[in-house]
């Protein structure tokens, strides 16, 4: 699903002669450089746009392309600042395009923190379209440059002031051959060189700037990309998955798996629907949480076994009584935290007499049933 969305976003702006696989690797590079797990489709639209924007070496005037590079780099550098700072550069002909591009970068950078991925995606698409429609001069040659089918054309914005964090823009259109990476110098020779390499159009895996393209690093990078993909798919499965850090994401996954396994254990303990089977789960004191109603109760009851917890029961009762003096709501919350609830005595006796079957020992099971029903009511009440 995700690669399709990327290709669709790219396909609307690509010409048919472009090679999708290398484009995919390019996007993967961009994701890697991000270093955290953005929502892929939200980043894809901006990446595609950035790609076209930067791969304009073939036919666009170099000044506008260089200005575009500056424009795109500066919002990255001034991440915390306002978008208007980028507009202050003023290299570009169209100031509105500058601000729009800055907003695009800003949105993309903040996109990882936002859980509302669809919203971001729509914003980016809108911004992208606006930026495309604004400014007749630059985007048209961008399209032309892109339409010639050269994704491989790398305009090299190898400014010495570029920080490693900004290798984003360079990495996105990184050099195919190491020779291109070695020369960060003049614009014109590079434009011609990139045009020459563009004409070859080899569907090779593009290496990042400064890295050799030997098979080991490629394999390593592929492996890392695979792992990142899998982490993203896991992120969708696990709730509370808005962590951008791989380590905290792993912690979240581990906790979730532990939680699910504990739930299975608890449910298997409460499933024992035989006569007297549930009684040992409950202590001798009445209305202590039966099998359900929170893992704490169940594990405490199971571990406690036959140990009399009446002291804790009276303590709970005292606590509840004290809370009820102050505020009814807090008392209810306290009980709910324990997996219990309050019910009128008449109702409790009615339920126990209604479900009491002949031939069973009277009090433990009745208390079990009451506790179970009470607990069940509270859990069903709190269920969304």
């Amino acid at each position: 699903m995700q690669p399709c969305s990327r290709e669709m976003a790219a396909g609307g702006l690509n010409s048919p002669t472009t090679t999708p696989p290398s484009h995919q690797f390019q996007l993967h590079d961009l994701h890697q450089i991000h270093g955290h797990f953005d929502h892929p489709s939200s980043a894809a639209a901006a990446d595609d746009f950035l790609d076209q924007f930067l791969s304009s070496a073939a036919s666009s005037p170099w000044s506008s392309a260089a200005a575009a590079a500056d424009l795109i780099k500066s919002p990255w550098a001034d991440l915390a600042d306002d978008d208007n700072v980028a507009a202050g550069n003023g290299f570009f002909d169209d100031p509105s395009a500058v601000s729009l591009a800055a907003k695009l970068r800003h949105h993309q950078i903040n996109g990882g923190n936002n859980t509302n991925g669809n919203h971001n995606n729509n914003n980016k698409m809108m911004l992208q379209q606006q930026l495309l429609m604004a400014g007749d001069g630059a985007p048209a040659p961008l399209f032309n440059g892109f339409g010639s089918g050269s994704i491989q054309s790398p305009p090299h914005f190898h400014h010495p002031t570029m920080q490693p964090g900004q290798s984003f823009s360079a990495g996105g259109v990184g050099p195919t051959a190491s020779a291109a990476a070695a020369s960060p110098g003049k614009a014109q020779p590079q434009a011609s060189g990139s045009a020459a390499t563009a004409s070859q159009g080899k569907p090779r895996v593009r290496a990042r700037r400064g890295q050799a393209t030997d098979p080991h690093s490629i394999a390593e990078r592929l492996r890392r990309e695979r792992i990142a993909e899998r982490m993203k798919s896991l992120q969708e499965l696990v709730p509370n998955a808005n962590k951008t850090d791989k380590a905290s994401m792993l912690d979240e996954i581990i906790d979730y798996v532990k939680f699910l396994q504990l739930q299975v254990k608890v449910l298997s303990m409460s499933r024992l629907g035989g006569a007297g089977a549930v009684a040992p789960l409950v202590t001798t004191a009445p209305s202590e949480g039966g099998g359900g109603g929170g893992s704490n109760n169940a594990t405490a009851a199971a571990n406690g076994g036959s140990s009399a917890n009446e002291s804790s029961m009276t303590m709970t009762e005292h606590q509840v009584a004290k809370l009820m003096e102050e505020d009814m709501g807090s008392a209810m919350q306290y009980l709910q935290g324990k997996g219990l609830c309050l019910m009128p005595i008449s109702l409790a006796t009615a339920i126990s007499t209604a479900t009491c079957r002949p031939g069973q020992p009277s009090s433990p099971n009745m208390s079990v049933l009451t506790g179970d029903v009470a607990v069940k009511d509270s859990t069903s009440a709190t269920k969304p």
Partner: protein
């Protein structure tokens, strides 16, 4: 809920309920003369094991490594429960060759934890996911995703069954 999840759920429910029914009906295995608490614990363990094995069988169509690991673990647990405290000496003939090799390996590695590759968080995940100690990172994450999916289905179904049983009491 996708179609595969629904199919998985139905498959698991069918197997699980079948195994529960088989467990509840009185047969020779259940008549033991142990203390009541132990019977309960045994029974809960049996239910948990039935849940995991039926889930593994239901999910076996997707050729996952963790299903095989779960099934082998279930089988060893069952044998351990049946034979009491002496699992090491009683070797069923089907497992004889493998268990000899395993015993030789276990002599070198004293603890179970030493088998698990200690890589920080990934090591913890390997412990949790069945069969995780033998996979590499990419496969581990894939198996974890499928395992989490199946666990969620399992919890949902078991909760529904528990509700049904407790309400119709």
């Amino acid at each position: 809920m996708s179609a595969t999840t629904q199919q998985l759920e139905r498959n698991f429910t069918h197997r699980f309920l079948t195994s529960l029914r088989r467990m509840n009906s009185p047969d020779s295995k259940t008549t033991t003369t142990h203390a009541a608490g132990l019977v309960i614990r045994r029974r809960s363990l049996r239910i948990k094991r039935a849940a995991y094995s039926s889930m593994a069988r239901a999910a076996a169509g997707s050729h996952r490594a963790w299903t095989r690991a779960v099934l082998s673990r279930t089988r060893s647990q069952r044998r351990r429960q049946q034979h009491g405290v002496r699992p090491n000496y009683i070797i069923p003939p089907s497992q004889r060759r493998k268990s000899v090799k395993r015993a030789a390996k276990l002599k070198k590695k004293t603890k179970k934890k030493s088998v698990v590759r200690r890589l920080g968080r990934a090591g913890k995940l390997r412990e949790l996911v069945p069969g995780g100690s033998r996979m590499e990172m990419g496969q581990l994450l894939e198996e974890t995703a499928h395992y989490v999916q199946c666990l969620a289905v399992q919890v949902r179904v078991m909760q529904a069954v528990a509700d049904h049983f407790s309400s119709s009491m």
